[in-house]
Subunit: 232 residues, 4 copies
């Protein structure tokens, strides 16, 4: 009895703890998205999460770690979604369109979360994107994060490439390296998103999706029957 009671209490505690953890992550995402990494202070996150600053440190070891966790989680979501798309019963073309739209959409939602993730140097002290990813001189946490993230990204890209593979096997697509194609698609979508701020014209989600989709499938050259679909 007392045994059970104790377990129950333990259980509840754990549950509560998990909930708080999530609160902090949500708060972090909110603030990071709004202010970027450097400009976000632990105070900001604490305020948003309605905890004391010190409490944050009982859930996470550092500002960095909070950020890492957010990034990692967001990748997890993406993987799940991509799997769903892959397993859908529809044409490969349609799937690709869905992928483009989905990535664009989540980039827009998480805006500078992804922005930061891709870019901010202060993230990994003096490292990210500059040093070759051998990762020596990285702190343990950072190393682990890098590994994690690379694993997840690999998973993402492999799912996409599997979709392409279907198209290649079926003879619909050119016989190319399907992983490279996945790289290209991701590059296009991310690139299109991140440069959009500087464009004169702004494109709706639909228009953007269509544009990228057409170019990715048919390229610039004449000779293929690229449908001249919707224009915004």
């Amino acid at each position: 009895m007392s045994r059970d009671k104790k377990d129950l209490r333990e259980e509840r505690k754990k549950h509560r703890r998990e909930e708080n953890r999530l609160s902090i992550l949500r708060a972090g995402e909110e603030v990071f998205a709004r202010k970027g990494y450097s400009l976000t202070t632990m105070d900001d996150i604490a305020r948003e999460a309605q905890f004391s600053k010190a409490t944050l440190y009982s859930y996470f070891r550092s500002k960095n770690e909070i950020f890492f966790e957010i990034i990692l989680n967001s990748h997890e979501e993406v993987i799940l979604k991509l799997k769903k798309i892959k397993d859908k019963e529809e044409s490969v073309d349609e799937k690709i369109k869905r992928i483009i739209r989905f990535i664009l959409k989540s980039l827009r939602q998480k805006e500078n979360i992804s922005r930061i993730f891709l870019m901010e140097k202060s993230l990994l002290k003096n490292v990210l994107g500059v040093m070759p990813p051998d990762g020596h001189s990285l702190e343990e946490t950072e190393r682990r994060f890098l590994q994690e993230i690379q694993r997840k990204r690999k998973a993402m890209l492999e799912i996409i490439s599997e979709i392409f593979h279907q198209g290649i096997v079926s003879g619909e697509f050119r016989d190319i390296d399907s992983l490279e194609a996945a790289y290209i698609l991701e590059s296009m979508v991310r690139g299109f998103h991140f440069t959009r701020f500087w464009r004169e014209r702004s494109y709706s989600l639909n228009k953007s999706t269509h544009l990228i989709h057409q170019f990715f499938l048919y390229g610039l050259k004449k000779g293929l029957r690229a449908s001249q679909g919707e224009k915004k």
Copy 2:
């Protein structure tokens, strides 16, 4: 005589000043590239430039201003190079290849200068890339910078789109919006560069250029005679 002498001295002084200015910019570029914007201190730049920190302030009004100048200059170089490419006597295909290679190359060289430029939120207090570019609430300097940079980027993209236009007119390319095509190409190249850190495989400049070039011209679909050029 004395007149001339004085002028000469003035001349030399001005020249010296210009040189110092450049030194600081070079130093700034170096350090920003290594550490990102937030983590770069004026002390860092001063040390690198072999000046006292205070001296920096006699050449630039702020850290921000140094950074802006670096970005702006780098854009200027790009514009010049693109113009040269455009005016070359060679096939449009070849020009596109050159553009891809050139952008990739300069992204690699300036590495996270461009990275920072695209991303760092702390740059324009809470603004860059997030708020719509209406720019109210920006400080004067920041506003000017935004204008400048947008002007330059527009120029860049227009040069590229003019090249495409040649191909469209000649019937070589599909009849699409040439500016949109420029957006896509830029997205691909930038995107490919910025995601490369996360890829398992790393691609040489040649291989990257080829890959992007092929996809940009022929897309994924079968039916076009994409040359099966070099593989890394």
Copy 3:
């Protein structure tokens, strides 16, 4: 029980905080008095208060705020004392003497706190004592401070003028504007204090009090029975 205990702890905490606050103010007063406003650094105050500089900022928003608070508090004390004097059962003459002595004394004690307060331009950016007190272009904090201080000073002078009023009503004093008389008395005392550094002779508190008192009551002209009291 636990309830009470918690409250008690809260109580103690609050008390501790209040004490620290006072420590900082005392430290500030000490250093400001010694070095003046501009030359006093937050580091100085922190050292004197035995806190870290950062801690100061958890109690006060700025150097200015610390200074304002010191000034304000010191005025509060003065008001209290003046009230006491006013309510004493003794002759108006005696009360005036007490006022003179009291103000002189506290000016000596707080020495250049009051000096600074009256004088330092850097206090209110380009304002204090120069611009008419319309107060536009002042920051919020500064505006509030100005209001507060003016309210307190008004209170001080009104108490003094009320004392004079008694004397006027009783026919002892000339029928003059009692507030103007208060202005004059304050001017004499403050003026006498602030110019003393430049005098050859220095006057004891007693002697100073007597001197001012005599002149304030009887003026320079012959014809009144100014007591030729103590000479130092």
Copy 4:
């Protein structure tokens, strides 16, 4: 001949130099008066004087020295004016009125020059008005300045006291220490000026003069025929 020519050139040089010196002083007065001591930078003065900052240092050893010189000069003017008043053929009463008005006026004109002079601690590093005027630990320049200023002030006050002496001898004034009377008068005038910023009502030069004059002559007590002259 060549001798004379050389002398003439020397002469002109000296003259020019003296003129520049004055320009700088005038500029300094202007800026100090506007911004106070701490907030005034050498750059400000240089700009106002239309010289390079470095040039200032060929005329004065430091910011302090410029300020000292300004103060000293201004005292010189005062002395001259007081002498003139003293030597005028008119009643002592009238002379006193003139003195009051004159001091008030120049305090208003030089506003925070005098303010600073009286108050700013940063002037004499950590000293002025705080340490007993023994002046040890003062820098040479500061010591000299203190001496100078004290000499001049003594002169000023002696002139005033001489005027009073006339009145005492003639039996018009009470038989008091004329120097003390001078101290009191100065205190009243300066005090009245420096506290004016905090008063609710503001007084015109005339009204101020009258007020101070009446009180100085007749005091608060009834029994003397204080003329109930103009009220503002």
